[in-house]
Symmetry: C2
Subunit: 229 residues, 2 copies
């Protein structure tokens, strides 16, 4: 068993690398490329190599030169701890401090590095143990466990499918503000009425109101299909 010896010894930067490697590792199942990390973190590949070596020393990642990198069990647990904190803080900001969902990310990026088990567990309790963050992403529990919700991209479902909007794939402020402007929010009932062959845009009915959205938009919205359809 791991005793998280280094849990409180990690620097901010190390934590950010672990988080990034976790996110990139989700997509493909294979090793994460140095360049991919560098691009996402807006840093240089050489800096990434430096850091990977340090993380490797600490047994947070598996690393062989030129072969990419992957999280160890300890690294994975660490990542889930950071993501838990990030998402709980996001819920706090929206629920308790009236932030909008496009404002939370930046502040949560700072708050996720605060080190105190008691703090985060108390926050969890204050928020009544939420299962999802404001963008519909699942919040790991204190042991790092979480289940991906059963959901599909709106762009992937057939005509006449309806469901509840439960999440966004792109959670950039730009996209979220666009959704606000167009009255699209989590919890809305969405039904696909028609798909335009020409450009893939969709005619949808959202909470009774008809509108047209581009394929790009649809491919960034998750819905949970209604039962029995």
């Amino acid at each position: 068993m791991y005793f998280c010896v280094n849990k409180y010894l990690m620097t901010r930067s190390e934590e950010n690398y672990i988080k990034t490697i976790f996110h990139l590792g989700r997509k493909g199942t294979q090793e994460v490329a140095t360049n991919a990390i560098a691009e996402l973190m807006e840093t240089k590949p050489s800096s990434v190599t430096d850091m990977i070596k340090r993380l490797s020393e600490k047994d947070l990642v598996n690393y062989k030169r030129y072969q990419g990198v992957s999280l160890t069990a300890l690294g994975n647990k660490t990542a889930l701890g950071i993501i838990r904190k990030h998402r709980l803080w996001e819920v706090f900001l929206v629920e308790k401090l009236d932030f909008s969902w496009d404002e939370v990310h930046e502040v949560a990026e700072q708050l996720e590095h605060i080190k105190s088990d008691k703090l985060i567990d108390s926050l969890d309790r204050l928020l009544a143990y939420p299962k999802f963050d404001p963008h519909g992403d699942p919040i790991p529990d204190k042991n790092g466990g979480f289940k991906e919700r059963d959901r599909e991209l709106l762009s992937e479902v057939p005509i006449n499918t309806g469901g509840v909007c439960v999440g966004v794939k792109d959670s950039s402020a730009t996209f979220l503000k666009f959704l606000d402007k167009n009255g699209i929010a989590l919890g809305n009932q969405i039904k696909v009425m028609e798909i335009e062959e020409f450009d893939g845009s969709l005619n949808i009915e959202i909470d009774g109101r008809k509108m047209q959205i581009s394929h790009v938009i649809a491919s960034n919205l998750y819905i949970k299909a209604n039962d029995g359809i």
Copy 2:
């Protein structure tokens, strides 16, 4: 007027130095000594000198070699901003997350460096604009204004004086736990019954209950004298 150009460009370490210089500057009205800063921050005088030069470059402190250091108007405003954040977070931890008053300091030391005006102003609102933190220290408002509450050390008041316990001078966990163990808390009515000549210890009546406390304890408790006594 200052436009706080550097407000969001300050490092954690710089902020900690500014805070320390502020606290040391309160006591005596004169310049703060390098050694005093080093001792309080548990660092070496040479490190302090280095940092002071950097702070001086940024116009946060007045500095002349060998002459000690003092905050500029900008430095003072910066310090008050950090203290505001620290104390608001302490209130949050106690009021919303059920921390005890001896547990808040460590976590608040981390939270005080989070950079977001919206965050701290919303927090202020959530907490209903508290005027004092859990140790009875005043919380600066968003412009840095605050008034020291009218209060006296219990050790300084004459026999038969009574008042409400409104603060502690030493807010170390050790002292606070001692107070908890002995049932002394902010809000208690305290009256000085007798002062022992030999060692300066005090017989007091606290919320109706009689007890004896040492001079050291009394010199770390603030009371607000009852009106009309």
